[in-house]
């Protein structure tokens, strides 16, 4: 037996012993000979590494100082809906836009921007609190973006205001599957278009928040514009009066991330004009 095969045999024996100690790791030595197994293992490893990288980028500090009031004025973008066919279920709403499909495919092809799970409200509060503490200490650029699928209450109706609001269509209340149909694809777009390190949270049934780390006002504006460009064709295709409201806020000097987050949420939470 050659020296090389002896070495390989010893390596396999060591790996087998390690596998016996920790069976959940899998048999590493077997991967060396098979390209397909190596490919699958490498892809799984990289996916895990990116998930761990994203998790490790979450600040771990607790706020030690109370945050102060402040915040910049948010700017809203609104795309309003009209009559038309709804977007098919299961198709990303980014696929409906003019040029949006190309951008969406390109985005999905970038391995470094693998989307993470959407946070819930409690996790969002934690993330904002930690980021507020970090920002208070170290400063830097951060922006908070809020998105809401809202009903338009003031529409030009064929009744000229009579018999309101019964004459106004309400897709979110009429359709019990509306949150799954409209909010879930919206969440997918938000997290696909955000960087992997930017937390995306669904803070209410029809409301999302995104923490844009290392993004200034221009970055937030560009992100909001991308979301609008992707969603506008889809929103206009939804029957009834549906509006997509987007607002962002950046913490001002002496302010805090938490106030900016509240400001952004308040800006989209009210009735649409």
């Amino acid at each position: 037996m050659s020296r090389r095969s002896k070495s390989a045999r010893r390596a396999r024996a060591r790996a087998a012993a390690a596998l016996e100690a920790r069976p959940e790791w899998g048999d590493a030595s077997l991967l060396l000979d098979d390209d397909d197994q190596l490919k699958r293992a490498a892809e799984a490893f990289l996916a895990g590494a990116r998930e761990r990288e994203r998790a490790s980028e979450m600040p771990t500090a607790s706020p030690e100082r109370p945050v102060s009031a402040g915040g910049a004025d948010p700017v809203g973008i609104e795309a309003t809906g009209g009559d038309g066919e709804p977007a098919p279920i299961g198709v990303g709403i980014g696929d409906a836009g003019r040029g949006g499909d190309r951008r969406e495919r390109r985005h999905r092809a970038v391995p470094g921007t693998a989307p993470a799970a959407i946070l819930d409200g409690a996790a969002w509060d934690d993330v904002v609190r930690h980021e507020a503490a970090r920002w208070q200490r170290h400063g830097g650029s951060v922006a908070v973006l809020a998105v809401r699928l809202a009903r338009r209450r003031t529409t030009v109706s064929p009744t000229w205001g009579r018999n309101e609001p019964a004459a106004t269509a309400d897709p979110l209340s009429d359709d019990p599957q509306a949150p799954a149909r409209y909010a879930v694809p919206l969440g997918d777009v938000l997290r696909h278009r955000a960087r992997a390190s930017d937390p995306v949270a669904r803070v209410a049934e029809d409301q999302f928040s995104v923490l844009l780390l290392e993004a200034d006002e221009d970055g937030a504006s560009a992100y909001a514009e991308r979301i609008r460009a992707i969603c506008e064709p889809w929103v206009t295709a939804v029957p009834g009066d549906l509006a997509l409201r987007i607002a962002w806020a950046v913490p001002a000097l002496g302010g805090s991330v938490e106030v900016a987050a509240e400001h952004a949420l308040a800006s989209v939470g009210g009735p649409a004009s």
Binding site: A18, K39, A42, A49
Partner: protein, 294 residues
């Protein structure tokens, strides 16, 4: 508070470096998650210092930016060069000699960035196999990796047997060491059981107390994984870069050139770190359960 080495998911204890025995090709990946930590500078100048000792060295530039290629005065490769690598799993065909003796380079190509998005896991396999199949005409193959965990990086780490992590002596850089070590340990258990050595090289050091404190912290946290050689910050490095030369060739008498020669010496002969006791696998103390099994 920033996440530090002590927050790692496993216990850091004394780790030892295994010195490969006998004359063979040593494959070393230079990785770091942080940009500007000195990956390319370390790759190029370590390779040049090793070549100066008479060891034939191959620098494999896998960073799509192609900085190592430029630093060695070579021209970036086209897509064809890497098509050959993907198809044949051989890097030797793409290797070109530089104007420095015993120093060869596999030039980078901007196409690698595209390949990263299209080939995905196939690129990992191709890179790993190409490194594993390098012939023995070179004594060292030094792989300059991209500054993030990508398919290329994973392929390089799967193919090599040693890893060098340059760490800038700055508080920002230190927090990035633990995740890299942790990923390397995980990769060793899942993809490359032959990964024998990890070395942390403090780079861009200066005389400030902060720099010394960072080196102390690294030494306390990672013990023998930290090399005794520190690479100082010097204006000679960017000057050499501008001249498209390794600093050991640009200004052989400079202090930083001496640092890289010392690093080359330490890599060729790890020295005292392995003399404290019987050498064992470096990962044994990082993952005690593996040590119990192996």
């Amino acid at each position: 508070m920033a996440r530090g080495p002590r927050d790692m998911p496993f216990a850091i204890r004394t780790a030892r470096i295994v010195q490969p025995r006998g004359r063979c090709l040593r494959t070393i990946a230079v990785i770091s998650r942080k940009g500007g930590s000195g990956k390319t500078t370390t790759s190029v100048n370590l390779a040049a210092a090793l070549a100066e000792r008479g060891e034939p060295v191959l620098v494999i530039d896998l960073d799509p930016q192609g900085s190592a290629t430029e630093a060695l005065g070579a021209r970036p490769a086209g897509r064809e060069a890497f098509d050959v690598m993907i198809g044949t799993r051989e890097l030797a065909r793409s290797a070109t000699p530089t104007r420095f003796r015993d120093l060869w380079v596999v030039p980078s190509s901007p196409w690698l960035a595209t390949a990263e998005q299209t080939l995905l896991g196939d690129l990992t396999v191709a890179v790993a196999r190409a490194i594993q199949r390098l012939d023995r005409r070179w004594a060292f193959a030094i792989v300059d990796c991209p500054p993030s965990m990508t398919y290329i990086s994973v392929g390089a780490l799967t193919g090599v047997r040693e890893v060098v992590i340059p760490v800038e002596t700055h508080a920002i850089a230190v927090t990035g060491v633990a995740p890299v070590i942790s990923e390397v340990v995980r990769l060793r258990t899942s993809l490359n059981p032959h990964l024998d050595s990890v070395q942390i090289v403090p780079s861009r050091t200066n005389r400030t107390r902060h720099s010394r404190a960072i080196i102390d912290e690294l030494t306390q946290s990672y013990r023998e994984l930290v090399t005794t050689t520190r690479i100082r910050e010097s204006i000679r490095v960017p000057e050499a870069w501008a001249a498209r030369m390794p600093v050991v060739a640009y200004d052989p008498t400079s202090g930083v050139a001496g640092d890289f020669r010392a690093l080359a010496r330490e890599i060729v002969d790890p020295g005292r770190a392995a003399d404290d006791g019987p050498a064992g696998p470096w990962w044994r103390d990082l993952l005690p359960a593996v040590g119990a099994g192996g």
